[in-house]
Symmetry: C2
Subunit: 291 residues, 2 copies
């Protein structure tokens, strides 16, 4: 049987897996381990894949920033990051030195977004913004069926924001304080603002209206620039279901009928693939490389 490989390279843990190339939804074997430095972690990755002879291609969805420009001298590298033992690490080169097969190299959010595009909430459309709101905020953007990138991958969690009039929180983005989306809406920002973790705030707490205001505002800005068919929210914070009606309501208010969008129940949706999205995205991306 020929196989696809997946590497979901997160900042705190790595998940590696293989699936049947003909049936990427069925995971054959899967393993996960904590993220150490680049060298040690990739040793574990390689030890896992060494068990399998016949791997057609591997999809890698990595925490960023990473170099995704094929013509760059540091293509496949992890770029400057506070994570010890990763800045300037040649992730893709290390894998290629182990086995020279096709690799799809992209960001973790692109991986999860791609899974939604192929088999999740966005499977019937071509233009998607996938936003993950957890420890940080990041976006995978698919435009006309392709992952969007310019000089590098999007960092759309750092768009500038209008603050809610009742919000006096100083924000936590080390670069943008309370000026950017991540600084205002990531999990630690919710906890920083209200003094308790998001998961301990009741559904009727004003925290969720404020969170919805910001996420809706970001959705308006993405809509104006990209004109997507759908905006999908994943990550820890959007596990809170009550957020979705609140985001849709605030989006309608802020957009104020300026641009035509699909019905908001369709336009603004939670991720469908849940915690599998990352690995699944890697398999689907790997499969695009198999003739």
């Amino acid at each position: 049987m020929s196989l696809l490989g997946a590497i979901e390279a997160g900042g705190t843990k790595f998940v590696v897996a293989v699936a049947d190339t003909e049936n990427p939804e069925e995971v054959i074997q899967r393993e996960s381990f904590p993220t150490e430095d680049g060298e040690k972690t990739l040793k574990n990755v390689i030890a896992f894949f060494d068990q399998f002879e016949d791997i057609d291609a591997i999809g890698i969805a990595a925490f960023g920033p990473i170099d995704v420009k094929p013509d760059s001298a540091t293509y496949g590298y992890v770029l400057d990051t506070p994570k010890r033992g990763w800045s300037g690490f040649d992730f893709l080169g290390t894998m290629k030195a182990w086995r020279d097969i096709p690799y799809f190299w992209t960001t973790d959010v692109n991986g999860a977004g791609w899974a939604e595009y192929v088999s999740g909430a966005a499977k019937d459309v071509e233009n998607v913004v996938y936003l993950t709101v957890g420890t940080g905020v990041g976006a995978g953007i698919i435009q006309n069926g392709e992952l969007l990138a310019g000089r590098s991958h999007p960092e759309a969690g750092h768009i500038m924001m209008q603050r809610h009039p009742d919000d006096h929180y100083e924000g936590l983005c080390p670069f943008h304080g309370n000026n950017c989306l991540e600084g205002l809406t990531a999990g630690p920002a919710v906890e920083g603002r209200w003094g308790v973790s998001g998961k301990d705030l009741p559904d009727d707490h004003e925290a969720w209206k404020m969170e919805a205001f910001y996420l809706a505002q970001a959705a308006v800005t993405y809509t104006a620039i990209l004109r997507p068919d759908m905006i999908i929210f994943g990550g820890g914070i959007p596990h809170r279901e009550i957020l979705f009606p609140l985001i849709r309501e605030s989006f309608a208010e802020q957009m104020n009928n300026y641009l035509d969008v699909p019905d908001l129940d369709t336009y603004i949706q939670p991720v469908k693939n849940g915690d599998n999205a990352g690995i699944l995205g890697c398999f689907y991306l790997a499969k695009t490389l198999v003739k």
Copy 2:
């Protein structure tokens, strides 16, 4: 000689022109007339082109909103607009009924942005945001050498904005008041805020610092989402040269070294093609249709 045609369809005036297909920079004949309703205006357009037998293709850069999705039932139409006699007008169909040649149909800002991409400030790069700041604010976005569009063309003048702490102006966007870029920075907003037209404000007026703050903020947001190689400002307001050092300075402050961008003198630039950009873009777009 075989010719290219150009239709720069503005809200207040139309410009039509022809150029040698082999040399689109040299305009052979050009005419301009005020914008009336759709039917009357296109009669003038057609009367102009009727003079020329051998037109290979015509580029049309039209004021919006317009339907640019080829698979849509109203592709080529002008959509809902307050402009009398244009809502639901079949612009492209009218031209095709006159002469069935290839037409490139896009927005006015896409036309001007494309001209910058082919022969202007952005001629050596592949990812460009072209922002026009005049009566309104609009953007043409080129991503990997193609005009970006999702469900429709961008309306990136309507991204949500953080207001300057000293700005108490109520804004003028009929949809978003002082919440969006256009509502805060378009020419009429400058006049509304300061009580005098932008062109009568001296270089050292605080208006320009405020304008630069907003334009830089928009540039940070475009950068985070699109990661362009260059952001170009055109339209009436950016004729004020003093704006550019101010925008670059504010961009550096707001971005705070978060994302790697080219040297700011390269990254943030005025339009090079000036008032010719619209017509030139039409010729270049038409030329992409000529085998």
